[in-house]
Structures are given as structure tokens and as C-alpha cells.
């Protein structure tokens, strides 16, 4: 990867349609590497999630011609919430296969065209329309079902195992779980204060998060990402070409994908696919994945780590930009990606491992800096224009590894010292598809 660009994500960009948003991100990316011109680009991969939001089929064709890319090759990428992450990997594959020397990945979404609750309806059409959608058409409800079970498996049956009264034990566990989820929400919103691209940067307390409007129990408004308009682009090329454009390229050293059943109700009860640092005896009594964990995320992580030669992600990754559409799914994803064992996500959060060093979050984070997660602010604070989101993560990770956060953010607070290797993680509805890509500094 040699360059990238992002439009500021916003609730609505009435002055820009999807073509102009992509063009702005694209112009920014090209400006950053003066040697790279449109003629040099061999082809494109263009991603957006929903034709319902655009009400324009084949919108990717209109991006292609707006950018002046015809008659070069292109293909539209769509894979639910993981659309952007898939687009990132599609461009990587176009180059890695030898088909192209230089490939542009571009993604966008324009979600402001309908009211929020109609938007929820469009998104929920990405759940089974026979069995799931007619019950409420509501993704937050599905993730709430998942986190209630996650809390049951890992807090009720462990931390509150001694409480005799079943209902009381479950209430205590949910209270504890939602308190810890709120720490994630505080972290991501607060990190985003230093990211000018973020849609909802703000300083919150745990109480603010817990007291915000209840959307689907136990998930409150501040624990959930919002809908956005936005675009992002990334340019991939061969190592040879990369040297022509920048002395600070970033190498893509691992890609992984995974899938799971569309319906939550079909998730089986089997065994955990183990990370190299885990043992079968860690999970003897754990029915997996059920609805508490994202098996697709584990599969994608395993493939990407294997590809990149990573055997212990905590020690071999410097940061992760992951798909926190919900504060709950960020904690679930810590476990899927092996940052801690299954069941340790809440303790891992409380110890502070995924927090940034040197930022005062308003509560103790003793191990802050151990493995920063979503230093950019993640989806919760940056917004989630679906087709752009995974590429946005790629661009933020790219700048992080280049050491160019100050240049692009106008603020160096989020620049991790000496970041050499990071991961990005993109996730589709209830974990039905996940991508993980590993990026590494490609210069000394």
C-alpha cells in the first residue's frame, strides 16, 4: 500500500453524492504521492454495501467513470458489513496475483438518504427475510441477543458462579458486563477527539454511556455506531512500483477471511478452533460458537496470522483497528482474535490493555498501551458508511505504520511510537463474514 484517503464521515453530506465523495478521497490519496498519476493505475475494485441506500444499481460504474478510469478493469465488491475489508483484500489480490501492478480500492456508502429507522430496515434485509427480518428487522436486537449469551457464558457462569438465585446472578452479570462494555465506548469516543475524520468524537463517562437511551437491552445508544455518509480509498501496488512513489510504503503480509451462518439460530455448538497460544483444555466445557462468539472472526484471524507468521498476536501486533459496530462486539472480537482467551475479554478490557497510553479516560487503565485497539476511535466514534469502513481502517492503519498521523490528523496524539505491524478487521452482520488483514511497515 502506498497511499490512502478518507472523507470526513458525517450523518449526511448533501453537497456530495457518492461519486464526489470518492473523488475527494481519491484526490487526497494521489496528492500524497505526487509520482502516482491516474494513468499509472491498472484497474480498480469498488465497494458499497447496499443498492437500497443508493437507489442506483451499478453505482460502482458511476464511480469508475467519475474518476476517469474507463476502460480499465473493475469489479464491485459487496459482503455486508465486511464490504470495505473485502475490497481492501480484493485490491491486494489483484496485485499479488500479478494481474495488476497498481490497483485502486475505493469504497463508499450514502446512508443519509432515508430516515434512521428505514435505514435499520435496509440493513436488516441482510438477515434471513423468512425467519429473522419479520420479527423486528433490527440488527441491534440480534447483537443484544449475542451479548446477553456472552455475558451468561463468561460472567454469570464464572465471575458470579457463587450466586445462588439464578435471576439475581444474571442481573449482576449483565450489570457488570454493560459497565465494562461502556469502558470501550468511552475509549473509542475519547480517542476520536484527536481524529479530525471522526463523526462523533466526545468525552463521555461510564455513567453517560449507561444512562444514554436504551436501544435493545442491554445495548444503549452510546454503545452503538451510527449511520454515515463517507468514502475511503487505498492504493496497492507491487513492491517494485511502491519504491517509485514513496519511501514509506506499507506491506500487506497477511490476509484472512471467515464466514458463519446467516441466521444466529443456526450457529452450531462445537469446538473452538485454537490459536497457537491456546490449548484444548482451555475450552473443555464451552459450546462454540453458539451465539456468544464470532467463529468467522476466529477463522479470519487464524488465516491471516498463519499467512503473516504470527503465533502470538499480543506480542507480534502493535495495534488493531477492529469493527466495533457495538461495544459488545469489540470485546467479543478481542477473544476471536486471540488477544485474550475466550471468556477473558471483560478482564482484558478492565486491565486496560486495549487503551492508549497517555490519555486520561477517567478511570484506571493500568496496562494501557499493551495492544491499542481502535486508536482512531473505531466505528463507534468515526461512523460506519459500510462500503468505506473497512478501507478507512486500512488508511488509518497505513498512516499509523508510516508514522504520518500528525501530517494527516493535524495532531500526533494518536500516533503510536514505533508502530511496526498492525491488523485491520472488518465484520458483516452478526459475524456472518469477517476479514482480517495484517499490515507491516515496509521501510527501515
Amino acid at each position: 500500500m502506498v497511499t490512502g484517503g478518507v472523507t470526513k464521515f458525517a450523518k449526511a453530506h448533501p453537497a456530495m453524492d457518492f461519486r464526489l465523495m470518492v473523488k475527494r478521497a481519491y484526490d487526497y490519496a494521489l496528492k500524497d504521492v505526487p509520482g502516482l498519476t491516474a494513468e499509472r493505475i491498472d484497474g480498480t475494485r469498488i465497494s458499497y454495501f447496499s443498492d437500497h441506500f443508493t437507489r442506483q444499481l451499478k453505482a460502482a460504474s458511476m464511480v469508475q467513470d467519475y474518476l476517469g478510469m474507463n476502460p480499465k478493469g473493475s469489479v464491485r465488491i459487496e459482503w455486508g458489513g465486511a464490504t470495505g475489508g473485502e475490497c481492501f483484500q480484493a485490491a491486494y489480490e489483484a496485485v499479488a496475483s500479478g494481474r495488476m501492478d497498481i490497483c485502486l480500492a475505493a469504497g463508499f456508502e450514502t446512508m443519509s438518504r432515508v430516515q434512521t429507522w428505514k435505514g435499520n430496515e435496509f440493513i436488516a434485509l441482510a438477515s434471513d427475510t423468512n425467519f429473522d427480518f419479520p420479527l423486528g428487522g433490527f440488527y441491534t436486537g440480534y447483537y443484544a441477543l449475542m451479548v446477553i449469551r456472552h455475558i451468561y457464558e463468561y460472567l454469570r457462569l464464572r465471575k458470579f458462579a457463587d450466586v445462588k438465585d439464578e435471576r439475581e446472578a444474571q442481573r449482576l452479570a449483565i450489570r457488570e458486563g454493560t459497565r465494562i462494555m461502556s469502558l470501550v465506548s468511552v475509549k473509542n469516543h475519547l480517542n476520536a477527539l484527536h481524529n479530525p475524520y471522526a463523526q462523533y468524537p466526545k468525552r463521555l463517562t461510564v455513567e453517560d454511556v449507561l444512562r444514554s437511551e436504551m436501544i435493545s437491552y442491554p445495548l444503549t445508544r452510546e454503545q452503538i455506531c451510527t449511520m454515515s455518509d463517507g468514502a475511503a480509498v487505498a492504493v496497492m501496488c507491487t513492491e517494485e512500483r511502491a519504491k517509485e512513489f514513496t519511501d514509506r510504503p506499507v506491506r500487506i503480509v497477511g490476509v484472512g477471511t471467515g464466514t458463519d451462518t446467516m441466521r444466529l439460530a443456526d450457529r452450531p455448538f462445537g469446538k473452538v478452533p485454537l490459536m497457537p497460544h491456546e490449548r484444548a483444555r482451555d475450552y473443555e466445557d464451552l459450546p462454540y460458537p453458539g451465539v456468544h462468539s464470532f467463529r468467522a472472526g476466529r477463522a479470519a484471524g487464524l488465516e491471516a496470522y498463519r499467512h503473516a507468521g504470527i503465533t502470538n498476536p499480543n506480542q507480534q501486533l502493535d495495534f488493531i483497528e477492529l469493527h466495533d459496530a457495538y461495544a459488545s462486539s469489540e470485546i467479543q472480537t478481542y477473544e476471536d482474535l486471540g488477544l485474550c482467551k475466550y471468556g477473558e475479554g471483560y478482564a482484558f478490557t478492565e486491565r486496560g490493555d486495549p487503551f492508549l497510553k497517555g490519555i486520561d479516560y477517567g478511570f484506571p487503565t493500568p496496562r494501557a498501551g499493551a495492544i491499542p485497539v481502535n486508536p482512531s476511535g473505531g466505528l463507534i466514534a468515526c461512523g460506519h458508511p459500510v462500503g468505506a469502513t473497512g478501507l478507512m481502517q486500512g488508511v488509518f492503519a497505513f498512516w499509523q505504520l508510516q508514522g504520518s498521523i500528525r501530517k494527516h490528523f493535524g495532531d500526533a496524539t494518536l500516533q503510536l511510537p514505533n508502530a511496526r505491524r498492525g491488523a485491520i478487521h472488518s465484520h458483516a452482520g452478526t459475524g456472518s463474514a469477517v476479514t482480517v488483514s495484517i499490515l507491516e511497515r515496509g521501510f527501515r
Partner: protein, 175 residues
Amino acid sequence: MRARPPTYDKFRDVQAELDRSGAAIFRDADGVESLVIKFPYAINYIHSYAEDSPFFLGLAEGKLKGSKCRRVKCGFVYATPRSHCMVCGSPTEWIDLPKRGRLHSWTTCHFGSEAFLKETPYNLALVEFPGVGSVLLARLKDAVEEDLYVGMPVEARFDPNPKYSITDVWFVPSP
């Protein structure tokens, strides 16, 4: 007919104007003006339940049907039916599920997509049945958030006036 719709600096005001007249101009902080219009967008869709049809016809008769893999060595039992087994690929056969089960997980939705907002708050439940390998997502009625817990016994109820939708079945707390 006026030549030019009214101009607003706040998008909120644009939306209000769209509700009134269907057209407005949004002027952003840089002075860029964008013409915004609003129009209805509705369709009638013809949907076949195809191989899932017996499940929905069963609901109309007050029956909860699952499916079981025909391959003896597999025999996986699905609470949410499918006509071919996800584990081994063999055809499945229809079976009657028990009408009583337990909550595998639950939530109370205070919002929903536009079509369901008027029904809020409503409960969603994943219901597990003894001897069945997967679970079923359904509405849970006659109970409020405070009553619900994982493991709670529940039983099925059926709509006497079926709409041929998954909402023809719902669960209630079991005594």
C-alpha cells in the same frame, strides 16, 4: 409553481421543508447549494417460501415444525428448519418440535426498523428445545424485561388468524 425552492442552512430545516413541499435547497458552511428532493418509494413484492413452505403452513395449523437430517449416521435436528443438512448435505425430513423450550438468549427491543416501530417495546428470544441441535428466533410475549433470564421455560402460542409469517408463532412464559 415557484422556480426555486426555499434555501436552508440547517439540514433539519431542509427535512422539514421536504415533508411540506418535497423540495428544498441546502446551503452548507462553504456556501455550496444542493437541491434536495423527496419522493415515495414503495413496492409490492411477490415472495415464495419455496422449500421452507411447510414450516409456515404448519404454523397456520398450530404446529411447530423442525427438520432432521435423513442420513442415519448424521441425524442432526434443526429447530429453524432447512431442507438440506448443513453438516453433511443430505436431505432432511420434517419433524414436529416440542412446544415447550427454554430461553437460550433474549433481549427487549425499544426500537426496530421502521415497519416495527409501532410494536416497541417487544422481546426477541432464541429458544432451545431438548434434543435439538439448533435454536429458533421468535417474539416473546406476556413478559417484561425484568422477568426474563437465560434458561427460562417458555411455550409456543399460535396466531388463530395466520398471516403466513414467522410472527404466526410466539412464545410466552411457561408456568
